[in-house]
């Protein structure tokens, strides 16, 4: 990732970059604050109605990189414009969290939940508070209760899978990722992550499933290097556990994965004139070792 100097970009580029980061949920807090301070805050009126959403985004980014002064400035502006707003109150509770005053923040979230039962974001913030305090098991319990009420919240399933992975409960994390795959079956990243978890679980059935999911992820997005490597390693593992005809299939799949990997490396080397010969050699040697083993 190249390092860009955001202080000298033009206003429109800064505005569209912030909008792109906002819509894609990109977490680049320092650069967001830099863009705001040096580029956009010079002409805030030119942003029009987008100004308030930008204030919210910059506020959260400022809390993320501990710039409480910028956060306070944004919150004052939002408070002046929207005096009795729940959304601004939520931002203030997030500021309390950033300062470490978790009990006060939870109090604010409880008040907000009491006033507005249907809004899921306050419950999610309470789970985040538990996570920040290190109480992962309570966070998991709260999040499970939340998901019983709000079943199709993809973000919550993803967060729950991360919490389970932190607790090394791989089977439950796999279940959460299955829910995500149900919601977005064409997302190769979810498929690859599910396959990663299944591969970690180990055992012939799980690695066989992992191989299937890695293959699907690689077919959907041929640039997904992790899926290609995952496919190769699951085939390698399976070759050690099987004999005969199945071995040939696994070696054929591994050979396809190797070819795809080498293609990608060569394409990347052409584009960026990087020296990727070592990677190509490593992949070739891996496959040669596999072939030798399988024919032995």
């Amino acid at each position: 990732m190249e390092v860009k100097d955001w202080t000298s970009v033009c206003f429109d580029e800064g505005r569209s970059t912030l909008r792109h980061w906002r819509e894609d949920h990109v977490r680049r807090p320092e650069e967001s604050v830099e863009l705001w301070e040096h580029v956009l805050s010079r002409r805030p009126s030119a942003l029009g109605d987008e100004l308030w959403v930008v204030y919210e985004q910059v506020c959260i980014a400022a809390l993320d990189c501990a710039r409480l002064d910028v956060a306070a400035e944004c919150m004052n502006a939002l408070q002046k414009k929207f005096p009795n707003s729940h959304r601004v109150l939520k931002l203030q509770a997030m500021r309390l969290e950033a300062m470490g005053r978790y009990d006060d923040a939870v109090g604010v979230y409880d008040t907000l939940t009491a006033r507005d039962e249907a809004n899921p974001s306050y419950r999610k913030r309470k789970v985040a508070v538990l996570k920040a305090q290190g109480k992962r098991t309570e966070a998991i319990r709260e999040l499970n209760d939340y998901l019983k009420k709000f079943l199709n919240d993809n973000e919550a399933w993803l967060e729950l899978s991360n919490l389970y992975l932190g607790e090394c409960e791989y089977a439950k994390a796999a279940h959460c990722l299955e829910e995500l795959i149900l919601a977005q079956p064409h997302n190769s990243l979810y498929l690859q992550r599910y396959a990663d978890v299944k591969y970690t679980l180990g055992g012939t059935d799980n690695v066989e499933q992992a191989k299937q999911y890695f293959l699907q992820a690689a077919k959907i997005n041929p640039n997904n290097m992790r899926a290609l490597y995952g496919l190769f390693f699951s085939c390698q593992w399976l070759v050690q556990k099987t004999t005969g005809q199945k071995r040939k299939e696994y070696v054929a799949l591994a050979s396809w994965a190797t070819d795809q990997l080498i293609d990608r490396f060569q394409m990347a080397a052409d584009e960026s004139s990087a020296h990727l010969d070592d990677q190509v050699k490593t992949v070739e040697q891996m496959f040669a070792a596999l072939k030798l083993f399988s024919s032995a």
Binding site: P29, E159, N223
Partner: protein
């Protein structure tokens, strides 16, 4: 060379179909003006114009599909393809702020004395 001659044949079929369809439209218009001149009622177009319209429509559809090239699978994930796990794996509602970035703050007073 059969590929080249097939594609020129298909293109010429498409062209013929288009000309035929325009001809149908013109003859239908002419038919209606003839009926108006002879003060007859207009109930339906004559069968040969209808037949020619349908045949030229089928011809155009088939040859245009061949001119356009091979069918591609519909990809449901063209936007998601370019994203990495850094963005897709983010849960913005669950962001916590107790990470190392606190030390980047200008107000961070680290207690460096050994405990």
């Amino acid at each position: 060379m059969s590929g080249g001659s097939w594609s020129t044949l298909v293109r010429s079929l498409c062209f013929i179909g288009l000309i035929s369809l325009i001809h149908c439209a013109y003859s239908a218009a002419q038919h209606r003006s003839y009926l108006r001149l002879t003060e007859q009622e207009f109930t339906r177009l004559p069968a040969d114009i209808l037949l020619q319209t349908v045949v030229s429509l089928v011809l155009i559809c088939y040859s245009a599909a061949h001119v356009a090239g091979d069918f591609l699978p519909i990809r449901a994930d063209t936007q998601v393809r370019t994203k990495s796990w850094d963005t897709v794996g983010n849960c913005p509602s669950f962001y916590t702020f107790d990470h190392r970035a606190k030390s980047l703050s200008p107000y961070f007073a680290a207690d460096l004395r050994p405990q």
